[in-house]
Symmetry: C2
Subunit: 333 residues, 2 copies
């Protein structure tokens, strides 16, 4: 049994989101709290801009919940930069404790799951879970200096510039908010993919693994969810996921959407779509949560996926181990 259940129904009280210029032109543009016209966000480096976005998302989630910094018990966050400096330096801006997590692009689901687990157990009343990413800081850390103008292969994805945070709270018996009712922590799955430009293919098996385990643990079918939202598999990775689950007798086709596949309007340089910890953070917290709050969606399975590689592991000839974590968000009926 990989799935844990939250019978006290920790609530998602509010979200906070911020999107870069390219992302703001996409589907999330109308739903985010702040759109940036300058991806430097007034800072001198991409890393500082990424950190500032994350800090904004955290503060905005708190503000949108009608709360202040003093009300918050814990921040759970992580990001793609070495030593998760965006999260650590963002946490420095706030006066509450910090729990650093790392799940690459699965961080949004991971931090939500841990936050819901802590609130459900009564350890904390109010927790913020947040993450983000920045195209330019990710490119120069994981790939090449932007100045090189390196050609991107068609199987590649585009790291999202944006951040999202969610405020999870014990709201007692009040049922006006969507609740996080269960979570499934994933196993590390490695199908031997070594192409660092093909994250979708690397992550799809881990996504399938946690999805099948979640459905087995809960005794549910894929169709029991209004929507299964996967995190940044991209177009190719989503096709692979559908194939893999279909082979296992699970048809997710009718109610599946992938954050990476839908985050950008026009498939141009982005090829397979978006990626990065900010991708699912942005799409889920802005776009999907809006539909949940409007009760257009009432039971959603959010499965964020992460590729657990580094430039060192790839340089030493390793394949790409991947992970995915699943979180159930439900409106009370």
């Amino acid at each position: 049994m990989q799935t844990i259940f939250f019978n006290n129904k920790p609530k998602i009280v509010a979200t906070g989101t911020i999107a870069g210029p390219k992302e703001s032109a996409g589907v999330v543009g109308r739903y985010v709290d702040k759109t940036l016209t300058d991806d430097m966000y007034g800072e001198t480096t991409y890393e500082k801009a990424e950190c500032k976005m994350l800090s904004y998302a955290i503060a905005q989630a708190i503000q949108n919940a009608g709360l202040t910094e003093q009300d918050v018990d814990l921040l759970i966050s992580g990001d793609l930069l070495n030593q998760i400096i965006s999260a650590s330096f963002a946490a420095r801006d706030f006066d509450f404790p910090f729990l650093g997590v790392y799940g690459a692009c699965s961080t949004m689901a991971e931090s939500m799951a841990v936050g819901a687990a802590f609130v459900n157990a009564g350890y904390h009343k109010k927790v913020v879970a947040a993450t983000g990413s920045h195209f330019s800081s990710a490119e120069r850390q994981y790939r090449y200096p932007l100045e090189l103008g390196t050609t991107r292969p068609p199987q590649s994805q585009w790291t999202v510039t944006g951040a999202g945070g969610v405020l999870i709270a014990d709201m007692g018996a009040s049922n006006g908010y969507p609740a996080i009712t269960a979570a499934t922590f994933g196993r590390v799955v490695d199908y031997g993919i070594t192409d660092v430009n093909n994250m979708g293919a690397a992550m799809a098996p881990a996504c399938m693994d946690v999805l099948l385990n979640h459905l087995r643990d809960t005794g549910r079918k894929a169709r029991d969810y209004d929507l299964i939202v996967t995190g940044d598999l991209g177009a190719l990775g989503s096709r692979i996921l559908k194939d893999l689950t279909w082979e296992k007798g699970v048809d997710i086709q009718p109610n599946h959407v992938d954050c990476g596949e839908i985050v950008y309007n026009v498939i141009e340089d982005e090829f397979q779509g978006g990626s990065g910890a900010g991708c699912s953070a942005l799409v889920f917290n802005a776009y999907i949560m809006d539909k949940i709050k409007k009760r257009e969606l009432n039971r959603v399975l959010f499965v964020a996926t992460g590729a657990l590689l580094s430039t060192v592991s790839s340089g030493q000839g390793e394949s790409i181990p991947c992970i995915a974590h699943a979180v159930v968000i439900e409106n009370e009926v």
Copy 2:
């Protein structure tokens, strides 16, 4: 209130530890499960050796508990390498879910706290929390290539080559095992230190912050603990911690020990002592836990400290934000 309490008393059933050659010559040498004569551990790179040590510690903790891989519900782990590849690749060796965390050298306390929280809440029955580090992989990632033979300044510490894991389980009413009874997650504290060779000075204020908050939350005095074990402040950092807490009216002098200060026998190249995620993992899980199991110590406060910098943040002129997490381990009387 930063402290959370575990009334169901999750138990530390067993630990698993492995130490490098230099570490094996020190105080932990007699207590670890495995001592290495070759810090490459039969691998071709330092990073692979680090990962293999961590994998060993996890497997050994499970074996020492008389369990098998199938009994374990979750691994909580992280490490110092970019994108925590030691933990992620070690997790690939096992068939249970993985929760990646990052707290730099505070990771042992952080992962133990999360593990105890999950077991206490009934989400999982058996969890492994583990971390490790390797001198040579840390040097080349954070500092200089070893081949340069760079002179080390006297305020520096030596990254420990070693790993430690702990198996935390719900053992019902049985009281033969030490229990984790509380944890305090720390805040990010930054006193403006920019010297990346002086981690002890950077981390001491964060350690003081969580220590004072823990004592306030629990209504305890420092002397209520048989021992307060801090993680890798080193000799200089420990002196600073004692000064800082003394100024706040708390005297930890009579019952304080620092993992970094005691891990090496001879202060030579190591100057202020040991550091690295493996430092407190090794000293706590091998040496301190032995004294707890023998009931020479019955109530211990374990406070592991972490410096949340990266080479990029330092290169961009940032100071070093730090954190510390505290865990209470008690024998039932």
